[in-house]
């Protein structure tokens, strides 16, 4: 999808029902939704705008973690007012969402050896990506980091699916002590890197990819406004030559070589070498 910025994925308003609520760790919630119209349409790395049931705040952008059959699931850390409200929902509750949204990971190549890097809740964006790459026969190494062992949620699930795990925690309670990018830089060079996590981690992944001489697809996070491309609030500087660049005149016509692209619309996944952040 990345690089084919205007692919029409037919997003919609979907009225879903919560089928299952699981707390994977303290403050980490997995909601499984009955959403047949989303399950088939969602591509790896896409997200939903979740409309707050109270109507008392802006909608929340959350990655689609799993999409299978008639179900999609969202996985989130409870960090503020909006995720706290979502965490109070129970089975049978209704939840309206917009989606699927954004240009996700391109898993279509025939790459044999890939690295996926996930930091914290970034794991939620990469499951569909890992599953698709494994289905295509790739060897997938998952470099997965979190603050502490308990927050390395669902690591076993990736291992069971066939990923080779490299784990890291800030406090050393599981895997290597330190940043997950420190394990990546010492590892054998992959052919392609996929990553989702906090911006400092993604910048470092971009540097490491550059050092390896390989390309990386980064799924960015930012505070969203509308989440559908209407407000230009969630942007990142991007090469104007990128296929994902929004319509903007080039420097020779009074514009610029670098433009701000919407993370919600042109992204959230961008090629690391095209970012100018």
């Amino acid at each position: 999808m990345i690089g084919m910025a205007m692919l029409d994925l037919h997003p919609r308003v979907a009225a879903t029902t919560i089928l299952e609520r699981r707390e994977l760790a303290d403050g980490v919630v997995l909601l499984t939704l009955h959403a047949p119209e989303l399950a088939n349409a969602t591509q790896p790395g896409q997200y939903l705008m979740v409309i707050p049931p109270s109507g008392e705040a802006a909608a929340t952008a959350l990655a689609v973690y799993e999409a299978e059959g008639k179900r999609v699931s969202i996985l989130f850390f409870v960090t503020g007012k909006r995720t706290r409200e979502l965490a109070t929902l129970a089975c049978g509750d209704r939840l309206d969402v917009l989606g699927p949204l954004g240009n996700g990971f391109d898993c279509s190549g025939d790459t044999r050896d890939v690295a996926i890097v996930a930091g914290g809740v970034g794991i939620a964006s990469v499951w569909l990506c890992a599953r698709e790459l494994l289905r295509r026969g790739a060897h997938v190494r998952l470099f997965y980091g979190a603050r502490t062992a308990e927050l390395l949620v669902d690591a076993q699930r990736f291992a069971d699916a066939g990923c080779e795990l490299v784990l890291a925690t800030d406090d050393g309670t599981r895997g290597e002590r330190g940043f997950v990018t420190d394990t990546l830089v010492r590892s054998q060079r992959p052919e392609l890197i996929y990553a989702c996590g906090p911006s400092p981690m993604l910048r470092r992944v971009g540097e490491i990819a550059s050092g390896f001489g390989v390309r990386a697809q980064l799924s960015l996070e930012e505070t969203f406004g509308c989440g559908v491309g209407g407000c230009w609030g969630c942007v990142v500087p991007l090469s104007n030559a990128s296929a994902q660049a929004p319509s903007f005149p080039p420097a020779e016509r009074g514009g610029s070589d670098v433009v701000y692209a919407r993370i919600c619309k042109e992204g959230p996944v961008f090629w690391a070498h095209e970012l100018r952040w």
Binding site: H10, P11, R12, V13, I51, P52, G55, E56, A57, A58, A59, R82, D96, L98, E222, T223, F224, G225, C226, G227, V228, G229, G230, C231, W232, G233, C234, V235, V236, S247, F248, P249, R253, G254, G255, S256, V258, V259, Y260, K265
Partner: protein, 326 residues
């Protein structure tokens, strides 16, 4: 009863006029909040809204502000987008075709840094058939230079409106800043200079600070506050301006519910504009139209225009405190 059911009212009229601009519904989508409309088309029925006010366009391309550009705050949000746009030439050439055939009216928005910018961009934009009216953004608080100067000075406002007025006969809406000492004086100047309608209000200046990093949370340091947090400020501005001018007002600032919308009509707004609420749920504008319709039917009111300004009252006893007359 039988006799009455035979003369059941047709649906109450929600249609309104802003100058020459006729709208089927009294709802506009706020500039900068709704893209070109196409972004929201999968989630909202554009045939159930009055008009989309497009994102402001300037004479030259603008990259926009550094990031972060948004911060969620209690009952609202701060934004500092910085008028990112490709400039009028590119816009006319590459963007404007998108607006043809929309099932609602399209209002162009013009921003600038010199009086001549406004006139130039207004003329180019208003000349196009896709654009049915022009909003003059004299009040963007999020640009580093003299962005808000025009809207904060009655005389500069007058000169901008006069310059734009000279370029087009299409409806001119002037969007006013609340970040002024006397918004009523500026409203009067805009009316006297040829404005057909006023948009009241733009965002309220504000900032937020990250207490971990000790740094401003917006890349631009300051931004514009929108959402329910500013609604009482906007309602008062509409109330006071409505008593001072005779041109219609588009009320805006944190409208989410039927009650919010009614407050603005009762304060004196002929139409309302919805911005930040679209970020909560893009179905809100359509829901508001249905609820307004039901409200008028229930109260047996034939037209939305009948309730405009109905909250206006005199203070019963202006000199209620001893000594005030002194």
């Amino acid at each position: 009863m039988g006799a009455r059911t035979a003369v059941v009212n047709p649906q109450p009229a929600l249609a309104i006029k802003l100058g020459k601009l006729e709208l089927a519904f009294p709802t506009l989508m706020g500039s900068g909040c709704y893209g070109s409309g196409e972004e929201f088309a999968p989630f909202a029925d554009l045939s159930k809204i009055g008009a989309i006010v497009l994102k402001s366009v300037t004479r030259l391309p603008r990259l926009g502000n550094p990031t972060p550009r948004l911060v969620h705050t209690p009952a609202g949000m701060l934004n500092a987008i910085g008028l990112q746009n490709p400039g009028i030439e590119w816009y006319l050439e590459r963007e404007l075709h998108k607006y043809a055939g929309r099932p609602c009216k399209i209002v162009g928005s013009v921003a600038g840094f010199e009086i001549d910018d406004y006139a130039y961009v207004c003329e180019r934009l208003a000349a196009r058939d896709e654009i049915e009216a022009i909003e003059l953004n004299v009040s963007c608080p999020n640009v580093a230079r003299e962005g808000e100067t025009f809207g904060c000075d009655p005389d500069l406002t007058a000169r901008v409106v006069e310059a734009a007025r000279a370029t087009t006969n299409k409806t001119l809406i002037v969007k006013l800043s609340p970040n002024v000492t006397d918004i009523v004086a500026i409203a009067r100047q805009a009316e006297n200079s040829g404005a057909d309608a006023l948009a009241v209000i733009n965002t309220v200046r504000g900032m937020a600070i990250d207490v971990e990093t000790w740094r401003p949370r917006l890349g631009n340091i300051n931004g514009g506050l929108s959402g329910p947090a500013i609604r009482p400020i906007a309602v008062l501005a509409v109330y006071e301006i409505a008593q001072a001018v005779s041109i219609p007002i588009v009320g805006q600032g944190g409208i989410e519910t039927l009650a919010d919308a009614l407050e603005f009509f009762l304060a004196g707004a002929t139409a309302i504009s919805i911005g930040t609420a679209n970020f909560t749920d893009p179905r809100i504008p359509e829901r508001l139209v249905a609820e307004l319709q039901a409200y008028l039917t229930r109260r047996n009111i034939a037209s939305i225009q009948e309730i405009v300004g109905q909250a206006h009252v005199e203070i019963a006893t202006p000199h209620q405190y001893e000594g005030d007359e002194g």
